[in-house]
């Protein structure tokens, strides 16, 4: 409890939740990300857009160090969350990933029951002291993900038996269950139909109140609908970043303009 004021101060010092400074990412000898500087605002949705292979997913995965699992991947520069460098040797990536949750492109529920899918994270992090606390976490996570009404009577059925859209919302609920501060979403709607997509987008908009969300998307309409700020990546470079409104109506860079008007990508 004593450290609370310090942390709050640290947060105030830097206005942004995540701040990246001169980030370089290499896959072996190939440089995938060059000199990315970006400030990501807390409690807002930031969208990363750009053509395939532009490095937006790679950059997203550096934020919770999922790239660590790739042997040949190397990250330089600094990424700070609440002023703390996540690549500091003192930082354990496992702890980081509890704070920075992730939702993947393809819905990937565990081949377990709906309940166990949500309860897994809280269990390994010891967030619940007993069964009833765990039940509470499960139901509140499902409620936040807007899935509770649909699944409350079949929590013991396998999560893999649900529809694609439900599975993706289950994955979001699973990410929420460990009470992260940041949620990274890597093209969360690319495998979903328009109706399921609309539901997930609505959910993202609601989650903005409590979480800092970074979303990678191929759909510019989606970026326009859900995000407050948008960053455009091209060939591993962050071309332009700003309020979503400005990026879409008044892009400063020629490349951004070409991309959003559909001239390439």
């Amino acid at each position: 409890m004593n450290e609370m004021p310090n942390i709050e101060q640290a947060i105030k010092m830097t206005d942004s939740k995540i701040s990246a400074n001169k980030v370089q990412v290499y896959y072996g000898d190939n440089q995938a990300i060059k000199d990315v500087d970006i400030e990501i605002q807390p409690r807002s949705v930031t969208a990363f857009i750009g053509p395939s292979g532009c490095g937006k997913s790679t950059f997203l995965r550096t934020i919770n160090r999922m790239n660590d699992t790739i042997d040949i991947c190397r990250v330089e520069g600094s990424i700070k969350i609440d002023g703390e460098d996540i690549y500091d040797p003192k930082v354990d990536p496992v702890q980081l990933r509890a704070k920075v949750g992730m939702v993947f492109q393809k819905p990937n529920p565990f081949p377990k029951s709906i309940y166990d899918n949500i309860a897994y994270g809280p269990r390994i992090h010891g967030l619940a002291k007993n069964k009833s606390e765990l039940d509470d976490i499960v139901s509140s996570s499902l409620q936040k993900a807007g899935l509770w009404e649909e699944v409350k009577n079949r929590l013991d059925e396998p999560g893999t038996g649900m529809s694609g859209g439900q599975q993706q919302r289950l994955c979001i609920a699973r990410a929420i269950a460990v009470s992260p501060e940041v949620i990274l979403m890597d093209e969360p709607c690319s495998a979903l139909d328009p109706i399921a997509t609309a539901k997930v987008e609505e959910l993202i908009d609601e989650l903005r109140e409590n979480y800092t969300i970074v979303i990678v998307t191929h759909s510019m309409q989606q970026a326009a609908r859900v995000s407050q700020r948008t960053a455009f990546f091209h060939l591993g470079i962050l071309v332009e970043e700003g309020p979503t409104q400005d990026i879409f109506t008044n892009p400063k860079d020629k490349r951004t303009q070409d991309y959003i008007t559909g001239r390439f990508g």
Partner: protein, 449 residues
């Protein structure tokens, strides 16, 4: 419009006038060829399966028809009462067992007379049919004198030639007179069979007993080597499964990709192809000559077979770990599981059915392995004292089923050949039980998800 593979004749007119709509009812040449090829391929497949099934059936019929006689034995059952006087008189003689034999012959004669058959025979005929029964009878009454004066039914094992005659292995045509059996003896055998004195009964001792000497095929049993094989399989299972799975998890999930791990990988694949006799001589050198573990012990056999089974288990475990979709690992890591938690909570359970399949294939291979056992002396002839003495543990000398079968097949007496087939039936039943157990286990693992 023009298809390069079509014969030119059909594509020629298309340029001249507007293309005539093609009828779907007319099957063109190319489609016909493709369909024919598909049919042919299916026919090959059915043929291949048919050949496989045919050989399986032939094998099963051969094994069962050749092996069944091993499960029966021929006995000579004689009931008689030995009085105290007869006992005292016999004990007072110089050749005691000879006296008992005379009593036995008398009883047999009496039993035949009761049935209205008066057949004369002499002691040498009886000896050729049931061996020398005197000793057994004497030791029976000496052990328990309270049996004197009471009717006692003796079941004596018929000699292997008589057994063969009953089973159809020995016929009047193919036999030659010898000190083991003469053609004239068969007349008496026929009469005794008719009088139900010689009968065929289920041979429990073949399943429960130990191997016998070379001149007593009737007493040979596979029980001791079943226990030997069982102990060996325990050693193999409890060593190779954890070591193999641990090694595969490390290599697949943790080890860095470099020249050294590549080398290890290649060597594991090579190890799987090393002839089993090489493992046998390695076991002889390392476990027996260097480490001084006892010869012929199931522990040593198990260790050698573990070395042999490890590559199989490692290769299949790695394959099934690889088959688990990476998205599951991502999902677990994404909610903050450590790498080990991700593997043990999510990846391993999904790979479990594959791992179990690999393990059972490895164990089945190990169960049938003979060559390495010959080198470490696991052809041990387990004689008296069984089941308390010789085969009670991992360190006591024993044999294993395939080695026992090999020993029998190598013996001169044709009766052992029958035993070898019978042994194979037991081996296959053991294997089948193991496989069924594995399938049940696998089902259980799969149902948990």
């Amino acid at each position: 419009m023009t298809d390069a593979t079509l014969p030119p004749a059909t594509s020629e007119p298309s340029s001249a006038k507007p293309a005539q709509p093609k009828s779907l009812y007319a099957i063109d040449e190319l489609t016909r060829k493709r369909n024919a090829a598909e049919k042919r391929f299916q026919a090959y497949g059915i043929g291949a399966i048919g050949i496989g099934l045919f050989f399986l059936v032939v094998l099963a019929i051969a094994i069962i028809s050749e092996g069944i006689p091993a499960f029966t034995k021929t006995i000579v059952e004689v009931e008689f009462t030995l009085t105290q006087e007869q006992y005292d008189e016999a004990e007072g003689q110089l050749f005691k067992t000879k006296a008992y034999e005379q009593i036995f012959i008398g009883a047999l004669q009496g039993q035949l007379e009761e049935k209205g058959l008066d057949v004369p025979f002499d002691a040498s005929t009886i000896e050729r049919i049931v061996g020398k029964p005197g000793g057994d009878i004497r030791s029976f009454f000496k052990a328990d004198e309270s049996q004197l004066g009471q009717p006692v039914s003796f079941e004596l094992a018929a000699s292997s030639r008589v057994d063969g005659y009953i089973n159809g292995r020995v016929t009047r045509e193919n036999m030659t007179d010898s000190r083991f059996l003469q053609k004239t003896d068969l007349d008496l055998v026929d009469i005794l069979v008719e009088a139900s004195i010689i009968r065929s009964v289920f041979n429990w001792s073949f399943i429960t007993g130990a191997d016998s000497g070379v001149d007593n095929p009737g007493g040979a049993g596979i029980g001791a080597s079943v226990i030997g094989s069982f102990f060996m399989m325990l050693v193999v299972l409890f060593l190779s499964l954890p070591i193999g799975v641990a090694a595969s998890i490390y290599l697949e999930e943790f080890a860095p990709q470099n020249k050294f791990t590549d080398l290890i990988e290649v060597n594991i694949s090579n190890l799987a192809a090393v002839p089993s006799i090489v493992f046998g001589i390695l076991g002889l050198a390392v476990f027996i000559q260097f480490m001084h573990l006892p010869q012929s012990a199931p522990l040593v056999g198990g260790l050698v077979l573990t070395l042999m089974t490890l590559p199989t288990i490692i290769i299949s475990t790695r394959a099934s770990l690889k088959a688990v979709p990476p998205s599951i690992r991502d999902a677990a890591l994404g909610v903050g599981a450590s790498k080990m938690q991700a593997i043990f909570h999510h990846v391993l359970p999904l790979a479990m059915p594959g791992i179990l399949t690999g393990t059972i294939i490895g164990l089945a291979q190990a169960l049938g392995e003979t060559a390495p056992l010959l080198l470490i002396g696991m052809v041990g002839f387990v004689a008296r004292g069984y089941p308390d003495g010789f085969v009670s543990g991992f360190l006591d000398p024993n044999s294993a089923m395939p080695a026992q079968i090999y020993t029998w097949a190598a013996r001169a007496d044709y009766a052992f050949y029958e035993k070898a087939w019978g042994g194979i039936i037991v081996l296959l039943i053991f294997l089948l039980t193991m496989n069924i157990l594995a399938i049940i286990l696998r089902r259980r693992f799969e149902r948990r998800w």
